[in-house]
Symmetry: C2
Subunit: 206 residues, 2 copies
DNA sequence: TTCATAAATCAACATAATGTTCATTATTTG
DNA sequence: CAAATAATGAACATTATGTTGATTTATGAA
């Protein structure tokens, strides 16, 4: 946002922003158009075009702000020592920072997550998820302090698989399917960090 | 697809399907409308409405077919024994099946992956990815037969994180941010399978 | 406080897509 | 072949878009 000198400009943009958020919340992205947005904001339809090219331009500007802020979050490197170091029950610091930020901006992110992904994508993920649940060794998931909720494990699993397959597609499916499957199998079995270090499990502890 | 008796019906639907695919390929999902679709298919605009309610109905029908087929793929259970069993360099069988299927239907899935996710989602993932690359212990990624390409590791990492955070949002952000960060940290460090079994690494080998 | 400046309003417009209709033509199947 | 039904073509009301120009209103600098 370049200029924001005039009070009227600030007010109008606030009205537009708020109208956009609440409109997406109730109707979804597809339900947003300039007509209803300006109606909800209580401004003239023409006024909208004084500020933004169209709805997509508006979204871009909103997203720009969020990305900018996230990009400014400090990076504290937590390199390989965490692998070989003993068991410390503390999260990586920069992960905490990210999640805290998203928690603060939860209104935006809730909308984003609700809108992100196609209908088919949701069905596909649900399918993958349900298959994985069948395989999860349920009895071992003891409810002790150290355990991670199994819904989170499944979310991690399925999303990771999804991402690997997506990457395979986005790189033009160069690798043969069997190799992709092997990559996935290794990552699941050993964990990404182990795999990155290319060690076998018995080498994990120095 | 219920009825497909008449030759004309079959022909028309094929034309529509093909027109849809190629139209999405060149213009993207947003660029598809009934006008241009029927123009490309070489049929009357009214004819489209004889078969589908609207564009979304058409997409639903196409997706239904794919999901149905994937749902019929055989599930071969590969349970916990894989954890304790020795190092076998063979992928899990049902993973192979899935990826083979997607490879066969690559035209559909290429479109899906290209269209899936919002613009913001792509930016967010790119941000996460770039941060993770910084942390990857590059020198250790030796180019031996066992290694997994680091782009795949990053894809796995970042997508998994994304999925966990998404799950957190979709369950109403009940857990405090710090605990989500801890869950992620554990999953990254130990791998999902270890975490599911709730063991510490030294217990990994029986 | 005044007043030039800029923002917002209002009404109107052309354009383009939607979904529906109905009479007509063409094709298929038994 | 003939009855059935699919596809066509043209028209229609509806709705959203993005733009324009004249007018009113609010702002902030002097």
């Amino acid at each position: 946002m370049e200029k924001a000198a005039d009070l009227r400009v600030i007010r109008t943009r606030k009205l537009i922003d708020e109208a956009f958020l609440s409109l997406v919340e109730e109707k979804g992205l597809a339900g947003v158009n300039v007509r209803s947005l300006t109606a909800k904001a209580g401004i003239n339809r023409g006024t909208f075009y004084l500020h933004y090219q169209d709805i997509y331009d508006l979204m871009d500007k909103i997203e720009d702000q969020i990305i900018e802020e996230m990009d400014r979050l400090p990076v504290r490197s937590e390199p390989e020592q965490l692998l070989t170091s003993g068991y410390v029950e503390e999260p990586f610091p920069s992960i905490v920072e990210f999640i805290r930020f998203m928690n603060e901006q939860h209104r935006f992110f809730a909308i984003f997550f609700a809108q992100d992904g196609t209908a088919f994508g949701k069905r596909l993920k649900a399918l993958i998820r349900s298959r994985m649940y069948e395989k999860l060794p349920r009895q071992v998931l003891s409810p002790d302090a150290l355990s991670v909720p199994d819904e989170y494990i499944v979310a991690y699993f399925s999303s990771a698989h999804f991402g690997v397959i997506r990457h395979w597609f986005e790189t033009g499916r160069i690798l043969p399917p069997e190799q992709v499957a092997l990559i996935l199998t290794r990552l699941v079995r050993d964990g990404p960090l182990m795999t990155a270090f290319n060690r076998k499990p018995e080498q994990q502890l120095k």
